[in-house]
């Protein structure tokens, strides 16, 4: 990122040392995110393995899923990611009020995702599909469940960021935190982008 006069005057964490690449947040957060995605790769891998073994069953069971729920959740998460990015931009420009509003919008997409998922689970259970119905539904509940847990943790992180902003205001330290929150939120988004086609779309 070039250090133009504008972003030097605002609240920016951009490194002024041009020889050094700027790393948003900190290395540990990136390591955690990569580690977590590694876990999901293993989960996706074992799903793919079972799917190859019981292809017919997985295709039949998959057709029971309602794609509308999946599409709505994809849109919610993607918009949520956009709000987090916009919040970070607003924070860098020192607009506290605007950052807060955008964070609230991002939090509401997380909550919306959760509510939508609960309705989807209720719909599946009322149709008689549970964790134990067959291997497809085992993976369906486990993968989406673990992902939902990530959404909850990510939403809590955003709520923490919102509260901290209200209490302490903007600072360079806060922007670092916001970057970490953003990275985690994008990871949750990215995982869903892989999960959604794997469970709902692949034929």
């Amino acid at each position: 990122m070039a250090s133009t006069p504008e972003n030097l005057t605002g609240l920016t964490t951009t490194s002024t040392n041009s020889s050094k690449e700027y790393l948003p947040s900190e290395l540990g957060v990136w390591m955690f995110v990569l580690g977590d995605m590694l876990v999901f790769s293993v989960l996706f891998g074992s799903y793919a393995w079972e799917r190859a073994l019981q292809h017919g069953l997985f295709i039949t069971a998959q057709s029971e899923l309602n794609q509308t729920f999946g599409v709505v959740n994809t849109i919610l998460l993607l918009t949520g990611s956009l709000f987090v990015v916009l919040a970070l931009h607003a924070a860098r420009k020192g607009k506290t009020k605007h950052t807060q509003q955008l964070l609230l919008l991002a939090i509401s997409t997380g909550v919306g995702f959760f509510i939508n998922k609960v309705f989807e689970y209720r719909d599946k259970i009322s149709n008689g599909f549970t964790l134990l119905s067959n291997d497809f539904f085992m993976f369906y509940y486990m993968l989406t469940g673990i992902h939902l847990l990530h959404v909850c943790v990510g939403t809590c992180a955003l709520i923490y960021l919102y509260k901290r902003l209200s209490a302490q205001g903007l600072s360079t330290d806060y922007i670092k935190h916001l970057e970490s929150g953003g990275i985690v939120w994008h990871m949750v988004d990215l995982l869903w982008i892989a999960l959604f086609p794997l469970l709902y779309l692949i034929k």
């Binding site: 900190e26 290395l27 540990g28 957060v29 390591m31 955690f32 580690g35 977590d36 876990v39 293993v42 989960l43 074992s46 079972e50 964790l131 134990l132 291997d135 085992m138 486990m142 673990i146």
Partner: protein, 230 residues
């Protein structure tokens, strides 16, 4: 303050891993685990044919277990020395670690009961075998809390001269994620989420033993911040 006892205790982690795994893999031959899908007769036969080696393995595991306690004490000492040390986080870590020692003790006992009279009714042997394996995996629902408490304490520490490196905090969070894989084991007799599965057994096992090794290295490299000043 003298750190030499702390460094000695820091070896408790690797010693525990070595003794436990020698018992678990070398003698008891529990790797891969006894399948939860096995019938009572199959389980009873395993305990009947391998009775002596299983018992030797259990003795190794039990003695290995005693080394976790000085090891955990060394971590607690360092947690208390950290800047912004939170008594709440330290206590959380203490309680979970103490509870874990109890779980491990009871689970080895349960294997011992199963192998103690291998000629009794297979269903009874199977019940104790089930109890032991569930007790081996299910603490993964509790252990992550201690990892998270430790990780948060590390993050709150002085950023210039931390006692434990910051990456170690994030590694703890990651181990917490890895461990949670076994939470739902009671639903499954086979597959990746059953007690012999990839997600419930193999990955948490690597995280569990890996944590002792990494923590031991971090402990051996750590320095008492007060001694540093003098």
């Amino acid at each position: 303050m003298n750190d030499s006892y702390l460094k000695m205790c820091a070896w408790g982690g690797p010693i525990f891993c070595a003794l436990f795994l020698i018992g678990f893999i070398g003698f008891a031959d529990f790797m891969p685990p006894i399948s939860p899908a096995d019938s009572a007769q199959q389980v009873a036969d395993i305990y009947k044919t391998d009775a002596t080696s299983i018992k030797i393995g259990l003795i190794f595991m039990m003695i290995g277990l005693s080394f976790t306690m000085p090891f955990v004490s060394a971590i607690i000492t360092r947690m208390k020395q950290m800047q912004n040390s939170s008594p709440t986080l330290v206590t959380t870590f203490v309680i979970v670690s103490a509870a874990l020692s109890c779980f491990l003790f009871v689970l080895v006992c349960s294997w011992a009961v199963a192998s103690f009279r291998a000629d009794r009714a297979p269903e009874i042997i199977q019940a104790f075998n089930d109890f032991a394996w569930i007790l081996l995996i299910w603490p993964v629902s509790l252990i992550p809390v201690s990892y998270i408490a430790l990780g948060l304490a590390v993050l709150a520490d002085n950023k210039q001269q931390p006692i434990f490196p910051r990456w170690y905090a994030f590694l703890n969070f990651w181990f917490a994620v890895l461990a949670y894989g076994g939470c739902l084991l009671i639903f499954f007799h086979e597959g990746p989420f059953a007690w012999d599965g990839l997600i419930a057994f193999w990955i948490p096992a690597v995280a569990f033993f890996g944590w002792y090794i990494v923590t031991s290295i971090v402990l051996l490299q750590s320095k008492d911040p007060i001694a540093e000043l003098n």
